[in-house]
Amino acid sequence: MKKTVLDYVLKIRLPLTLFVIATTFVLTYYISRPERDGLGYAPEQPIKFSHKLHAGTMAIDCQYCHTDVAKGRYATIPSVNVCMNCHTVARKDKPEIVKLTQYYEEEKPIPWKRIHKVPDYAYFNHSVHVNKGIDCASCHGDVKEMEIVSQVRQFTMNACLDCHREPHKNLPYLEKVNIGPDNCSACHR
């Protein structure tokens, strides 16, 4: 039988093209996954606040600023007056502190860039996790070492369930830990 151009196209060219497309798609999907999940996202903040300096070097407790993390759903970003507890005196003349003081005096809130976010329609509660003894770093990474905070863990349903189902593996420092709920209503309502 005589080979036609059509044969060539159907048998070689088309599968090859499809294969290349599929491979590209799959590779891109997996390679870009962490990127799409926000890993390494470290936006520039309105004030160059250093967690490394405050939480690391000076060892200020997380809850000094994030006051409600053990009380309610939100960890809460501190309001400007909390910063001013120290900075009315400390390093008043540094440019970033001048910026801060300006916000405070003009009674404007600071528009911090959001870094961590659970997907929509999921109701996450900080207090439940913190009161079970889970360390902040288990989700937020070693913030004490971060000059600029960036996202280090994924905040997907998969990531939540991974830890809920195998807490012993993911939180080895907790001696007594129950398996977290994995029913829908645990997060969705």
């Binding site: 926000g38 409600d68 009380k71 309610g72 809460t76 400007v80 860039k113 209503s185 969705h188």
Partner: protein
């Protein structure tokens, strides 16, 4: 035009430019050529770019795509904006509660307002309040929507134009000054005044402007009751009734469990004697009424009597009762009057003999209670009858209903109208009241108002009265206001704002205070706040036996929402002459029209509240309308059926409205609810229903609400009433008593229960399953509903609506059966159409262990949780509706639209109204199935609290929204795996049953069968 036809001289009517007008030759040239010069010249290809059209589009697409991907930072997650200085009491994500007082009606119940991040999201009863004990009616629950009503007035108006407060105040102050200088009348028209501070304010106002007169108007309320009490006892302060101590209650056309007085309080007291759980302790309720009311549905014996014959009925009782003596000494005139009264009533003799026997056997332990819409004559007779029986022992004078300013008599209002017509009135101030709607046409209030120069309306949103007023001043919502109330003796309630005024509105009392001061610039936001504190110190502080200083007491009262002090109204002897003056209604040759107040929209003030319009009527289950309910006999006689429009003629007035054939209505009675048919109102309430106030022609012949000698005729037209429950015909042998045959409703009598406590379980069939049992360790949620206590008041439905962000769908969607309320109260009739026995049953998701909805979901969006909940993951749902199809209880609700977007042109889809949403509950969108979640957000909150406190979650930690609202505590919720919990006792109770038990779906909602307290010989 021009005869010589010379174009150069031709002048035109229409022209494009001056050159055209002057017939410029250049213009003529242009007109001759179709295209301008050069337009049709060939392209010079050499000058064009080398990019083809196809390539250009490709480039354009590619660059747009690149730009779109490059410019959006898809990782951007927005901003988190904390407070600059966070108020100490606000913790994001944690609710704050403030005690306040509801001013939805005059009853002034104590409320607890839940606020999140500074915005009110739910109103519940104040649990410590001595009157309503943590419960609040549907109106109170839903009134939170009024705060976020998009059609609230936002600015002061002068003659319909936006203005400023300072200008308005200046003009009004000069009007008031002029009027008082010339000694011309200033009329202040108010509703019922329950606040001692407002009384003080009005008195101050009278001192500053001496020509001021105060008028108090109302539609129904307790006007007739208090006036009748005044005639019998010489005071307007009438006592509360100890329904909790009554063995026999006879309601004479009174809906005390549904819509009269403080029905929340009444229901609580009534249900104390409807206890079956620990011991059987029952009162017996007789209801003698013409319509079928919510109270009538609860009756053990219901005697149907036309409302105009109630006087005769009371006299009949008096005559029989007098035969066995009287607890007070009666004058001979009274005795002869009673003995000579006409008593040829056609009523069921068997029921009457039971009633008489019970009343005589329970002297001093029974109560006869007449309705708010009955005439003073009936009230006078009932007051006397209670005295004869010694039932005054059940009067509670320590919690009397007080009256600060008596309602204006008809004559007073007529004299105001006369003064207005004769130009003697300069200013009329409408103090948050709508007389143009609630006063019958008879008064001609609207036309008289036109003759007054200074007409002022203080109102939250536009209404009939404000549309006729020159100055329309927007006032604060109750949640933005300070206030107080001392309706009940010994209880002083405080109202505090829980949010700053959203719009440019002012507290209505502050507005008067500004006018009182005489200068427009004297207004300050805390004007009334300070006035209130000083009034509290003067009037209340001195009466509280307490050692603390004024400030401490004020703040503790504010914290609690009320203070209790010692105040007892004096008990006095009855004036028997009041009874002698009472008379029977004139002869009625035709039908009787009985007008009663609407269950949910009150006197029309809640007509723009979508939640309240959509709550189904407790009896007929009709939403979004009022109608004439007629008896089945009358329907047959006139060949009428549901939706037929009839014309009601009362004197010269007539009204066309649709009918409902309502089982149980007395033969000659036609019942229509008031409050509907508002004309000047927001989009929601506009032209909803029909206004029967127009039929009130003679204002005070007996009672305005009972109109005799009316005529009706069929018009042949049809109207579309929408009901959330099928009206199954009682005549149809197939559906008759279906609910009993299928054991949906299981009932019995006390006698049956006492003689055999297991009477319900005798014919228990063995049910076997084909699936493996699932083990539930730990907490397992369950609910029980005691049908002995449920009065179908629908507070649970409204509470659920508010808690769970349930949208308003509108009449057209209710008609298609697409209402979204997660709870409904099913109403079943049995017996005969003339004497129906009514059974009510709240129905919600039963959270079945073997849920039939779960195994048909193709995407596993609905499944079971380890704590026994039938859970629903909205974002997983693809909207096949298989689950709803497979649900035997029909409790699943589907979002056929994004209802917030769909209802009334996005009426509730705006930045303001969305603030009412509970942030803990997802706002569902189109194409998603939803249903009762057992308030999963509350369960999760309780769980997180338990974890924070380092303890195990207990069943009693969770209170669902419906349970919290239920005035009679008929709903119990908790952990059925805890053997000591109330819920597990309820589940094991002899009267406990599951609906459609034979399907073996294993529901987690248990019903406690209703027992009726019938006479032993009736069984």
């Amino acid at each position: 035009m021009n005869e010589n036809g010379n174009s150069s001289e031709l002048k035109k009517d229409y022209w494009k430019s001056l050159a055209d007008y002057d017939n410029d030759p250049g213009i003529l040239m242009i007109k001759e050529n179709e295209f301008l010069e050069g337009v049709t010249d060939d392209f010079d290809e050499a000058k064009l770019t080398g990019i083809s059209r196809r390539r250009f589009i490709a480039l354009l697409t590619a660059s747009t795509a690149f730009a779109a991907t490059a410019c959006t930072d898809y990782r951007e997650k927005g901003e988190i904006i904390p407070y600059n200085k966070r108020p100490e009491e606000i913790k994001p994500g944690i609710a704050n509660y403030y005690a306040s007082t509801c001013s939805g009606c005059s009853q002034s119940c104590g409320i607890l307002v839940k606020t999140r991040e500074g915005r009110p999201i739910k109103i519940d009863g104040n649990p410590e309040h001595p009157v309503n004990n943590g419960k609040i009616c549907s109106k109170g629950q839903a009134s939170i929507l009024n705060l976020y009503d998009p059609e609230r007035l936002k600015e002061p108006l002068i003659s319909g134009r936006k203005s400023g407060w300072e200008i308005v105040d200046k003009e009004i102050i000069s009007l008031l000054d002029n009027a008082s200088k010339k000694n011309r009348e200033i009329a202040i028209v108010t509703g019922k005044i329950v606040s001692p501070t407002v009384v003080k304010l009005l008195n101050d106002f009278k001192i500053k402007y001496p020509s001021t007169k105060i008028y108090s108007v109302t539609l129904v309320d307790d006007k007739i009751r208090s006036e009748a009490w005044f005639e019998s006892y010489g005071t307007y302060n009438y006592p509360a009734i100890k329904f909790d101590e009554a063995n026999i209650i006879l309601s004479i056309d009174s809906d005390f469990l549904g819509n009269e007085g403080n029905f929340i309080e009444n229901m609580q007291k009534y249900s104390i004697k409807r206890e079956v759980v620990d011991k059987v302790n029952f009162n017996r309720l007789y209801v003698a009424e013409g319509r079928l009311s919510a109270t009538g549905m609860m009756a053990d014996y219901r005697i149907s009597i036309d409302p105009d014959k109630q006087y005769q009925f009371v006299m009949l009782l008096a005559k029989e009762i007098l035969k066995s003596g009287s607890a007070i000494s009666l004058s001979s005139e009274v005795i002869s009057r009673i003995n000579n009264s006409k008593t040829d009533l056609k009523i069921d003799r068997r029921k009457l003999s039971y009633l008489l026997k019970d009343l005589l056997e329970n002297k001093g332990k029974s109560i006869i209670y007449a309705g708010d819409t009955l005439s003073k004559d009936v009230h006078a007779a009932v007051n006397l009858l209670n005295e004869i029986l010694g039932n005054t022992a059940l009067y509670d004078f320590s919690r009397s209903f007080k009256s600060f300013i008596p309602y204006s008599k008809t004559e007073e209002l007529m004299s105001l109208i006369d003064s207005m017509n004769n130009n003697k009135v300069d200013v009329v101030i409408h103090f948050d009241v709508n007389p143009l709607f609630i006063l019958p046409d008879y008064f001609g209030y609207g036309s008289s108002l036109k003759k007054v120069a200074g007409t002022i309306a203080l109102t939250e949103s536009e209404n009939e009265t404000s549309s006729a007023c020159k100055y329309v001043l927007p006032i604060n919502n109750q949640l933005e206001s300070w206030g107080d109330a001392n309706l009940r003796a010994g209880i002083y309630n405080l109202q505090q704002p829980v949010i700053a005024p959203i719009f440019n509105t002012r507290q209505k009392e502050s507005v008067l205070l500004t006018w009182l001061s005489g200068t427009a610039s004297s207004y300050k936001e805390d004007l009334y706040h300070k006035f209130l504190i000083s009034s509290f110190n003067d009037q209340i502080y001195s009466r509280i036996k307490n050692v603390s200083d004024q400030k401490t007491i004020w703040y503790s009262a504010l914290h609690d929402g009320f203070v209790i002090f010692n105040e007892e109204m004096k008990r006095s002897d009855i004036n028997q002459k009041a009874f002698l003056l009472s008379k029977e209604l004139g002869e009625n040759k035709s039908y009787t029209l009985h007008l009663t107040e609407s269950y949910f929209i009150g006197d029309g003030r809640f007509a723009n509240n979508g939640w309240l319009q959509e709550v189904p009527h407790p009896v007929s289950k009709v939403a979004w309308d009022n109608y004439a309910s007629i008896s089945p006999t009358l329907a047959k006689e006139l060949n009428l059926e549901m939706n037929d429009v009839i014309e009601i003629n009362a004197g010269e007035k007539s009204l066309n409205l649709p009918v409902i054939v309502q089982p149980g209505v007395a033969e000659k009675t036609i019942n229509v609810e008031l409050g509907y048919g508002r004309t000047v109102i927001g989009d929601v309430g506009n032209k909803v229903g029909f206004n029967p106030i127009v039929l009130i022609t003679k204002y005070y012949d007996s009672s305005p609400f009972i109109i005799t000698n009316i005529s009706i005729k069929k018009t042949g037209e049809k109207y579309n009433l929408v009901s959330t429950q099928e009206h199954h015909s009682l005549d149809d042998t197939f559906v008759k008593d279906f609910h009993k045959i299928r054991n949906i409703i299981q009932e019995g009598t006390i006698q049956e229960y006492i003689s055999d406590p297991y009477f319900l379980r005798n014919e228990k069939k063995e049910i076997f399953g084909i699936t493996r049992e699932h083990k539930y360790t730990g907490v397992k949620w369950a609910m029980s509903i005691d049908l002995n206590k449920c009065t179908s008041c629908t507070a649970c439905v409204t509470s659920c609506n508010v808690e769970n962000n349930i949208p308003v769908v509108g009449k057209d969607q209710v008609e298609r059966g697409r209402e979204m309320q997660w709870m409904r109260i099913d109403r079943y009739y049995s017996g005969s159409p003339d004497e129906p026995i009514v059974s009510n049953q709240p129905m919600l998701c039963q959270h079945c262990d073997n849920a039939p909805c779960e195994n048909v979901c193709p995407v596993n969006a609905t499944n079971h949780s380890p704590d026994g909940l039938n859970q629903m993951a909205y974002n997983r749902c693809v909207g096949t509706r298989y689950c709803s199809n497979n649900c035997p209880y029909k409790v699943r609700r589907y979002n056929f639209f994004d209802f917030r977007d769909h209802f009334a042109d996005e009426y509730y889809q705006n930045n303001l109204t969305s603030l009412v949403n509970n942030p803990e509950v997802t706002v569902r969108s189109r194409g998603v199935m939803e249903k009762c979640t057992f308030c999963i957000q509350r369960i999760m909150e309780a769980r997180s609290n338990a974890i924070t406190e380092g303890r195990e979650l207990k069943g009693t930690d969770v209170v669902t929204a419906c349970q919290q609202a239920c005035p009679t505590n008929a709903i119990v919720f908790g952990d059925m795996n805890d053997p000591d919990s109330k819920i597990s006792k309820m589940r094991e109770h002899n009267l406990a049953y599951h609906v459609l038990e034979e399907l073996n779906v294993k529901p987690n909602v248990t019903y406690i069968a209703k027992l009726r307290n019938t006479q032993p010989e009736d069984n």
